[in-house]
């Protein structure tokens, strides 16, 4: 006899497990199907493990570069035990994934381990090592995520040709690495390994790094730092193929019409991720998939089959865990009969490079494209912030973009220490439609990095305290603060 549920969520990543918990909270009989890890890519081979390793790398970097100036004596060279680091990383992941499983059980969500495949719009089969089970449900939520894109000639073997998963699982220190793709995953892993002493070469097809992912001025700060830490960057370069070279690899790249060969111990390919819409027989039951491979959904994340929803990476951009979680909660509530739709102004993004980049809302180009012709843009550098100086992390700035007419905050872009932890205030400002004065007139505690947000808003209004700006009287036509 088939198992029967109100809601079956396929995929236990940050979209799926959140959806299943909320669904159970709403009183719906809920199951979740997972073929690999609880917590999905995010908790196991993505966000969380990469942050563990990046933290270790950052720590090492500070020990090597800041400790002696601060008066801390580290006798001899700081050793790196990659095997121990992997163990520690695993303990972090296991703790988080274990937490997910506990939460699901605590909310009476049935966990079905295995590979799901649709038989019809109301039935799936779940295949595991112990057999195949039939599962019937009134509603399905597809939260099957995405996987790294392979490029021709670079099939992942996770030995010499690594995906992000392999890049995060190195148990020995790499001498050298070629990173194909200067997006956020490649740069996060690449600069993390560079901190551990790996010679990293980044091969990027675009004219710049992080194109379309971050404010260009923010990227410049990161690019300078990469250069300083010895990372080579080849722009407008195409990876043509690779050969074995002794125990390592020789990667052929084409730059400006000329071929050159990069020798390294391994090659990491991070050119993006593709939605897992070609699995679970989604097409077989007639689910509409768009030309980019995303399951077609509406603002409620409902597919063309009304009782089937799709959330997270498999549904649409941006492929970010926090967007998937937001959708998961929303879809569970829609199934429970609540009126909901995806109506957010921004999905904040964070990039854990050095220094960190974070953004909420629009870039200058996006604001102009959206019809805001008259913008006010202000910046405040971390170099003028006491906390940043005391952290010895003064690279970077906070940049605020506002509508000149109304002073409404349209976007905030941060590059600098703890940018990832600072951006939430900006996200709230954008969602609330806050004006520059709202940020500037909110007392921010001293001495914190958060003061830079207040000062950047002041700078945008033309009168920050801790940087030299023109006298207030010199700005005719400035709207009254409470007009």
């Amino acid at each position: 006899m088939a198992l029967n549920f109100d809601v079956v969520v396929i995929g236990a990543g940050p979209g799926g497990y959140v959806c299943a918990i909320r669904s159970a909270q709403m009183g719906l009989k809920t199951a979740i199907v997972e073929r690999e890890y609880m917590g999905g890519v995010c908790l196991n081979v993505g966000c969380i493990p990469s942050k563990a390793l990046i933290t270790a790398g950052h720590f090492l970097h500070k020990m090597q570069h800041n400790a002696s100036e601060m008066g801390l004596k580290v006798p001899g060279e700081v050793g790196v035990d990659m095997a121990q680091m992997q163990k520690w990383k695993k303990s972090v992941c296991d703790r988080m994934a274990g937490g997910v499983e506990q939460l699901l059980k605590g909310n009476s969500v049935t966990i079905l381990k295995g590979e799901a495949s649709f038989k019809s719009a109301t039935e799936i089969s779940v295949k595991s090592s112990t057999g195949t089970e039939s599962v019937v449900a009134k509603n399905f939520v597809i939260a099957t995520g995405s996987r790294p894109i392979e490029i021709p000639g670079f099939a992942f073997d996770e030995k010499l040709v690594l995906s992000s998963t392999g890049g995060l699982a190195q148990t020995e220190k790499l001498k050298s690495l070629v990173v194909i793709g200067g997006g956020y995953i490649g740069l996060e892993i690449g600069s993390m390994l560079a901190n551990f002493g790996t010679k990293v070469t980044v091969v990027e097809a675009n004219k710049g790094l992080l194109v379309g992912l971050a404010d260009a001025e923010c990227v410049q700060v990161v690019q300078r730092k990469l250069k300083k830490s010895g990372v080579d960057v080849l722009l407008e370069a195409k990876a043509k193929g690779w050969k074995k070279d002794g125990s390592g690899v020789a990667v052929t790249v084409e730059v400006g019409g000329k071929e050159q060969v990069l020798k390294a111990e391994k090659v990491l390919v991070t050119v993006g991720r593709r939605p897992n819409s070609d699995q679970a027989n989604l097409k077989g039951i007639g689910l509409a998939i768009d030309e980019k491979g995303f399951v077609k959904v509406n603002a409620q994340r409902r597919t063309n089959i009304a009782n089937i929803f799709a959330i997270g990476d498999v549904a649409c951009q941006p492929m970010l865990a926090h967007k998937a979680s937001h959708e998961g909660v929303m879809v569970a509530e829609i199934i429970a009969g609540q009126k909901r739709a995806y109506e957010v102004k921004t999905v904040p993004s964070v990039i854990f490079v050095d220094p960190e980049i974070a953004a909420a809302g629009m870039t200058e180009e996006e604001a102009k494209a959206a019809g805001y012709t008259d913008l006010k843009i202000g910046k405040f550098p971390f170099g003028a912030n006491g906390r940043a100086v005391s952290l010895m992390e003064t690279d970077g700035f906070v940049k605020v973009i506002a509508d000149a007419k109304t002073h409404i905050v349209l976007g905030v872009h941060i590059v600098g220490p703890e940018a990832s932890n600072l951006i939430s205030e900006a996200a709230l400002a954008v969602e609330m439609g806050a004006r520059l004065e709202d940020l500037a007139l909110t007392i921010h505690p001293h001495p914190t990095l958060g003061e830079t947000m207040m000062e950047a808003a002041e700078a945008t209004l033309g009168h920050a305290i801790h940087i030299i700006q023109k006298p207030l009287g010199a700005k005719p036509g400035t709207p009254r603060a409470h007009a």
Binding site: A121, G284, L287, R302, N307, G371, T406, I408
Partner: protein
């Protein structure tokens, strides 16, 4: 073999949901394309929901009494694409063309995606619309306000924000609520938010029953409250000697029966009203509060109040001025019957420029009706009575006579219509009613 869901299609402008009144099919039934499968009650009317395609009912997904949103799956049909033994051969070509015929809003999953990718794309483009649509990027409203608007079914993209820099406030959403309903689009939503919503708490232990205020009743409540809130009403009453009208109607009764319809007094009252509002155009007008303008309408659509089991409905006779007494009679009978049966189409209750209430057919000497906002006047007609009058002949001798009388009221929006104007209007109207022959002069 494939399973397709029948979704609740768009039921009309501004209608986002309905209450499922009755299933017309059950599990196992064979359904033909376009066959009505359920009756839904919206805030305006009861409508039948057709299935865009045929099949055998596999599962009923909603219960009677459930509130169903537009786009939600209502039932699933087992469609036999391969035309198995049980399917009649003739239905094969029909089902093949069904996706093309089906309105986009009622799309369903195609049996095979490989065959018709284009139709899938086309269908999902419109069929996946969320109602009301998601907020545009430029709209300023806090996340909490957005959620409230979504829960109330208010389209944020159409609300004019009154807050700083055009921010849509919580109050703006509350004001806009109800605006999407029966009140004509573009009509002013004046200060709706300031209408208090007091709670009622009965004495402890008292036997009471609570029923949700919903559907047609809720709409009536909202409309009446709105009209009384916005419009300063006044009512003028007078009596008409309808002896001649009664005689005339008696005379025409037989002719009406010959023409296959029953002639009541209502069409004559309508004719007299049409002729009088031509003379007094401000009775066929609206006030656009938002624009601060008076709108004079150059067309004459007559609403008449109909008592139905679900509550008051106002069917509308379009271009009543261009119709004969016979045509009006037929239309009145038809609309009234369908109003009682809950079968009126939504646009048959829209667009009246003035309304008549015939409460007198039930009882009461006089009433003070409520204007059907955004109209500015409502005419009341009451029961016919026989009354004694004193008659004086040429010599001055008095005698007692008997006449037939009928009471009329005109209720008007005092913002536009002054008391003296209404008195002149009622006088002109009653002159016509008392001398039905004069109606000939106005005949079109």
């Amino acid at each position: 073999m494939a399973t397709k869901n029948v979704q609740l299609p768009e039921l009309g402008e501004g209608v986002t949901e309905g209450e499922l009144v009755k299933w017309l099919v059950k599990v196992g039934d064979q359904v033909k394309p376009d066959q009505a499968v359920a009756e839904m009650m919206t805030d305006k009317a009861t409508v039948e929901v057709p299935s865009p395609f045929g099949g055998v009912v596999k599962e009923i997904l909603k219960k009677e009494g459930d509130v169903v949103e537009v786009g939600m799956a209502m039932l699933s049909l087992e469609t036999d694409a391969s035309a198995g033994a049980s399917a009649p051969a003739a239905s094969a070509p029909k089902s093949a063309s069904a996706p093309a015929q089906a309105p986009a809003a009622m799309m369903a999953a195609p049996a095979t995606s490989a065959k018709a990718p284009a139709s899938v794309a086309a269908a999902s483009a419109s069929g996946l619309d969320v109602v009301p649509p998601a907020m545009d990027a430029k709209v300023l409203a806090t996340p909490a306000t957005r959620r409230m608007a979504r829960e109330m079914g208010v389209n944020l993209n159409q609300v004019r924000g009154t807050g700083l820099a055009g921010r849509v406030t919580r109050e703006d959403v509350l004001t806009a609520q109800g605006g999407a309903g029966a009140v004509a689009a573009g009509s002013p939503m004046v200060a709706k938010a300031s209408i208090p919503r007091p709670a009622y708490q009965g004495p402890a232990g008292a036997v009471e029953e609570r029923v949700a205020l919903k559907g047609i009743r809720k709409k009536i409540a909202e409309n009446m409250q709105m009209a009384k809130h916005v419009v300063p009403h006044f009512t003028l009453m007078d009596e008409a000697n309808v002896t001649a009208l009664v005689a005339m109607r008696e005379e025409l009764k037989a002719a009406g029966e010959k023409a296959g319809t029953k002639i009541t007094y209502l069409p004559f009252v309508m004719k007299a009203l049409m002729a009088t509002i031509r003379e007094f155009p401000m009775f066929n007008a609206s006030i656009d509060d938002a624009a601060q303008e008076i709108v004079y309408k150059k067309y004459f659509n007559l609403g008449f109040a109909a008592d139905t089991p679900n509550g008051l409905l106002v069917p509308v006779i379009k271009h009543a001025d261009q119709k004969t007494v016979l045509e009006l009679s037929r239309e009145i009978i038809d609309l009234a019957k369908r109003a009682r049966d809950g079968k009126l189409a939504l646009d048959e209750m829209k667009g009246a420029t003035i309304t008549i209430t015939n409460i007198g057919s039930v009882g009461g000497q006089y009433a003070t009706p409520i204007i059907n906002h955004p109209e500015v006047a409502i005419l009341g007609m009451y029961k016919i009575q026989e009354k004694p009058v004193i008659k004086r002949d040429a010599s001055g001798a008095m005698s007692l006579d008997s006449i037939k009388t009928m009471n009329f009221t005109i209720t008007a929006d005092h913002r536009l219509i002054d008391g003296a104007v209404a008195a002149n209007f009622l006088k002109a109207f009653i002159t016509r009613i008392e001398n039905p022959g004069v109606l000939m002069l106005d005949m079109m």
